[in-house]
Structure formats: C-alpha cells, structure tokens
C-alpha cells in the first residue's frame, strides 16, 4: 500500500508530461497541413508602372506566409515582385489566420494593359519555424535536410558589425561530388514550407 501512491503520482506526471509534448508536437507540425480554405480579392488597380492587387487569404497556419501569384494577359505573364502584409504593425497580426496582402506586379515600359487579365495565386511560402534567421528554424531545417539530402550537414552564423551585420551557411559535411552552391540551394529549399494553391480570378481593365 505504501508504494501505490508514489507510483500513481509518477504515472500521472508521465501522462501529463506526454500529453503536453503531444499537444506541442501537434501545434508545431500544423504548418504541414497546408490547407487554404478561401481567398478573397479585395481590390485591384493599374498604373503605368505596376498592377496592384489586394488579397485576403485563410492561411494554413499562423506562420508568416507570403503569397506568390502570376498575372497573365495576352501572351504576357508577370509574377509579383513585392508583397506587403496589410496591418503589419497591428498588435497580434500573427495571431490572425486570415491575413491580407498587397501584391505588386511590375509593368515594362510601354507595356499596356487593356481588357481582361487573369490573376492566379500560385503558392504560399513561409520560413520553416522562422527559417535561417532563428535557432529553432535552423534546427528544423537541419532535420528536414537530413531527410531530403542525407549527408549534407550545415550550421549558420550571424555576426554583428558597425551599423548592422551579416551571416551565412557553413557546411560541416557534404557528400562526394556535391558542390557548396548545390547544397546551399538544398538548404534554402529545406528552410521553407510551401502550400500549393489553386485559385484564380479574372480582372477587368477595360474601363
């Protein structure tokens, strides 16, 4: 009888601890669900330099997702070169899973946009757990890389200087025949999560 109460306590601690670990693992891997439930076109506009569109997206998770889209008209296809997070300075913006973005598509000189264009949302990308800017992101990238490209091992560094700083990737192991440039491309690839999107809308510029 004397031994039963401590045993029960130990079991309870184990169950509680494992439950916490399970729940945190679920929330950490939520990024991989990568499901988009809706996209809404808020506005669009064209000036001589840019076509600008605003989209609101139900994101797959609370990661810092960024949308990449294509605008096609006639034989021309343009991808967005800048993305602005709407309300980026609002407190708690990253707690919202529906966020709005302004996408800019650059127009070439004398490139005229008349009639209809099709805006296609191609993909969403986010840094894996903060990407190479954070320790957690580096660790997650190392784990991901070990699965996709076994034998490629790396660390990162960031050093402060006067007025700023810089950093990079250092390889500690590379399979024979693999160049650092190739391996670096794999590291970047492993440091991102993507969500494929199948959404498009017609934009009318005839008015």
């Amino acid at each position: 009888m004397k031994t039963k109460i401590p045993t029960f306590l130990l079991v309870a601690v184990c169950v509680m601890g494992l439950s916490v670990l399970y729940l945190t693992t679920i929330s950490a891997s939520a990024d991989s669900s990568q499901k988009i439930t809706s996209v809404e076109l808020i506005s669009y506009d064209a000036n001589p330099a840019f076509v600008t569109t605003e989209l609101c997206i139900d994101l797959p998770s609370k990661a810092q997702w960024f949308p990449y889209a294509e605008l096609s008209f006639g034989q021309t296809k343009i991808t967005n070169t800048s993305i602005l997070l709407v309300g980026a300075k609002q407190p708690g913006i990253l707690d919202q899973q529906n966020r709005c973005y302004i996408l800019n598509f650059p127009l070439q000189e004398n490139q005229e946009l008349h009639g209809q264009a099709i805006l296609t949302l191609l993909t969403l990308k986010a840094d894996l757990e903060g990407g190479l800017m954070t320790d957690a992101g580096v660790l997650a990238t190392q784990k991901q890389l070990a699965q996709t490209h076994p034998g490629v091992e790396f660390t990162t560094f960031t050093e402060s200087g006067t007025g700023g700083g810089g950093g990079g990737i250092k390889f500690t192991a590379l399979p024979k025949g693999v160049t650092e440039d190739q391996a670096m491309a794999w590291v970047w690839e492993a440091s991102e999560i993507t969500a494929q999107v199948d959404w498009s809308v017609k934009l009318d510029f005839s008015k």
Partner: protein, 146 residues
C-alpha cells in the same frame, strides 16, 4: 524487495524527469523578454540577439530583377522599430538599406545582411542591394514601405 520495486520504477522515474526537463525547456523558450529599446530609442540599435529580432514580423518583402536578391522590411512590435534584411542564395556582397536613414554595406561576402533599427512609429521604407564589391551594387530591390 525494495530493490525490485525501485528497478520497476526506474523507467517511470526517468520518463518523469525527462518530461519535466523538456517541459521546462519549452516554457523557458516562450517566456517574455524585455525589449532593449522602443521607438526612437531604437534608432541605430542592433536588433540581433534581442527580442526585436526574434519576434519581428516580416512586414513586407521584395525581390529584385535577378529573382534571387530579396529584401525584407522587418518590424518588431515589441520594440516599435523596423530594420532592413537582405538575403541572397550564396555568398556575395550585400547591403541592407533603410531609405533616407542608413545603409549597411557589408565589408565582406555574406548570404544575408541586416542593418540597425529605426523608429517604427511612422512609415519606414527599406530596400536591398547586391553587388560585386562593398558599395558597388548592380542589383536592387524596389522599396518596401511599412
């Protein structure tokens, strides 16, 4: 008899300690940290290794014509300050600019660079540059104002 009981319990004790240690580690990692500065107090302050870096929002992003050089306008709500972050796919000469304020021109090749912060209570514009030597840049992103 006592030895047998302890032998049976050993895995449980080990598991308990492990979960407590891991749980403690996770709790520590989410603890709030005081910002080193806020608003104009952050002007020219290095964000690296502070909460201004770790909790920053990517307020905007722009890619240059080479489709690789990328600049991010980073905003820290804790510090109410922005900074510029430029990255490339491999080692090269990079610069991170806060437009009208300051450009950090890296003296050596890096894969990413950043500059010191600027008061984020107003609109702050950033852009990035890539070149062949410090101060010699042939690729630039557009400005991102947030």
């Amino acid at each position: 008899m006592n030895r047998l009981i302890w032998k049976r319990r050993l895995p449980l004790i080990f598991l308990s300690l492990l979960t407590i240690i891991i749980g403690f580690g996770r709790t520590r990692s989410v603890q709030a940290v005081d910002p080193p500065c806020t608003g104009s107090g952050c002007n020219y302050v290095d964000p690296y290794n502070t909460v201004c870096w770790s909790n920053a929002v990517i307020a905007g992003s722009a890619v240059a014509s080479d489709v690789i050089t990328t600049n991010r306008n980073m905003y820290s709500g804790d510090c109410i300050a922005n900074y510029s972050y430029t990255k490339y796919s491999t080692y090269t000469y990079l610069a991170a600019e806060t437009v009208g304020v300051y450009t950090y021109e890296a003296p050596q090749t890096y894969v990413w660079v950043y500059n010191t912060m600027w008061d984020g209570s107003g609109v702050v514009c950033t852009r990035g540059h890539k070149g062949t030597a410090p101060g010699v840049y042939n690729i630039s992103t557009s400005q991102i104002c947030r």
